[in-house]
Amino acid sequence: MQSSPVVLSIAGVTKRFGALVANEAIDLDIRQGEILALLGENGAGKTTLMNILFGHYVADEGKIQVAASDGGLQTLPAGSPQAALQAGIGMVHQHFALADSLTVLENIVLGTGSLGSPTLHKRKARTRLRGLMSESGLTVDPDERVSRLTVGERQRVEILKVLYRGARILVLDEPTAVLTPQEANSLFAVLRQLKARGLSVIFISHKLREVLAIADRVAVLRGGRKVADRPVAGTDRAMLASLMVGREVPVSRREPQAPGRTVLRLDRVDVPGAGGRIGLTQASLEVRESEIIGIAGVSGNGQAALAGLIAGVTRAAVGAVTLFGAPLQPSPRSVVRAGIGRIPEDRHHEGVVGSLTIAENLVLETLDDPAVQRWGFLRFSAIRDHARALIAAFDVRCLGPDSPVRLLSGGNIQKVILARELGREPRLILANQPARGLDVGAAAEVHRRLLVARRRGAGILLISEDLDELLSLSDCIAVIARGRLSPAAPVESLTLERLGLLMAGQDAEDQAA
């Protein structure tokens, strides 16, 4: 391994944004046939570094060199995405950029020919694509429309697209976020095959388990600096976590606690899917006090319908939804008033209004409250006092109650939402992907808050795609697949493999067998 040549060398790269140092003197080499994991919390500088690599930003100091065809290293011109592509660096983004109505082949060819060319040279492209598929083990039907592909298949198309453009250094940004464990395993198999073919892979992640499973070497960024660069062999999760965070990460533990009365019951509920998305079919579920019910599933299998139903934004077409013993009134205002705390899936899209201040966001759901307004006028001093108390209680790092939420980091925005939702001491909490996109420290804080609420007696419905999160927090887990909800099973009876199979929708076959 040590003998293989360096194909990409980042030397002394520094990037400042005003007073903020996003990258500080980062050195990073990657060798041919190596899988390098780039590990770091949000804001550690991973994205900035990759943006510099791809020419989206220009580094203030330092240079990037790439292996040339003669084997020597040659400096990559800064600030040119074109040059990065030509040098054989390809990136697979977390969010796919595919044209749904075109076929796999058309998507892959798109943008490679000159605009003036009258034909797409499909025959030649097809031959080349077949070659790439057999080399890499990435198999997709080239004539299938992208809209008919699964998420895992779409990711293969993205990787093929990058390989087709001649990439020899592949950068994957959080590639497993949208995959089931099985799909992730087959991605890893592909990456190993590519590695055997002499390609180099930079694998950006914050999932320690995956880093340990796939990477040869791991580089850890923290606060813009590289704090570790070592072979994966001989490291473990605890060590990587503390390198990433810079201190010991507290692990929240669920203490055994007997559940109380039922707070939420779904009885064979159908929710129509909105905008071509999967709805809910015959879903039954029960959440009791002091109980965390986890909902596992691959994104887009009906979670949005389930969350929308409980958040009061979508209605059940069939079936009964009972909240605290009474039928649920489907409107955000009435569910909030009834005592549900709602942590939405997309905190920027649904959770906060960025241009409003922290104090304003904290009262957004309770504008009718006489403590918030009198005769239509906002009671700013009361609103600010309320905000100060919550900022202190939930440790929101900010300049004060009047600073716009837009300026906060993702973790702090989530704290604002937690403060608003949990500060009311709700009896039922809907937590939809509450730790997604958060760094290890912030995620641990979210988990701790949920466990505190559980101890207080709240029932919690936790919808997540992160199986580790579900397995460590939930009392029982139900799996959602194609709009159907499996019965909730005690977490002790479940394994990662079993959950993965359920998530792939194999529940029915198992029952038949």
Binding site: A19, H349, G351, L356, E360
Partner: protein, 350 residues
Amino acid sequence: MIRLEARGRPTALVSTAAPLGALLAALALATLPLLAAGAPVGPAFARMAAGAAGSTFALTETLTRATPLILTGLAAAVAFRARLYNVGAEGQLYAGALAAVMIGSGAIDAPSSVLVPLILLASALAGALLMLGPTLLKAKLGVDEVVTTLLLNFIVLLFVQMMLEGPLKDPMGGGWPQSEPILDAGILPPLVERMRLHAGLILGAGLCVITHIVMARTVLGLKIRAVGDNASAAQYAGISVTGVIVMVGCLSGALAGLAGASEVAGLKGYLTADLSRGFGYAGIVVAMIAGLQPLLVLPAAIFIAGIFVGADTMSRTMNVSNYIADLIVAFALLSVLVSSLFVRFRLRWR
């Protein structure tokens, strides 16, 4: 190559210097058409400044011209804050003016203290009602309000022309298509002796302050700001986005309708089909230059009015076309928009 890079947080210096720099840039750009017209730049600008603010007469004329712009500017500022792109202030102004003459030119005989508020109320109501259709269509069916409000302008103007040729035509008007005059009791009083400046300015300035208070300090204002910035989060939090959109639309229409009443009852005295010199559209420019801040609408409207009035003087005395005013206003709008880009991004040369 030039590249744009996001600034972390714009400094106070940058965010105050940018709009001022933009206005200077607009004037600098205005030298180009002046040079093309063969006019000496220095004296031309001097005449313009004198024409806009050089005497009591000039100043009152500028403020008179600013009055409708303040109201239509507020109309645009309020609506645009909620991302409701009401470009129909021109039509709402005419609807307000129509309501003003229907109430004020003899239908009701009452003392001034009753008639003036009635006229204002009627014109605000007319403007607000005109926004009901577009906002409901937008909220319920997703119909683009830019199209509906824009097209309503032509419908309203043609309707006004029909009324002026028909039922509202003044029999004493010598055959001209104009309405009967507003009763003396319905006239907005002048502010300066023997000048055209009228109490509409007080109304506009007062409404700037009131609108600011509504936007900054009331529940409604908070809802408007929330819906404008992130409608899905507002909806999720239980704010009725439909309700807010309709509310804001009516508020915006009412402000534009008041501009019509102010022109009819304050300046002209009767309604003609050429009452507005594009005040509805110029209001959009005013609102953009003011950064959609109600309090800044006042200076922005006075600035735009000053340019129009000053350019009139300049064109009379220097023999250049007064279309230069339109050019300067266009330059001002463009440079303010560009400057707002520089507040958020910095240029990098490489």
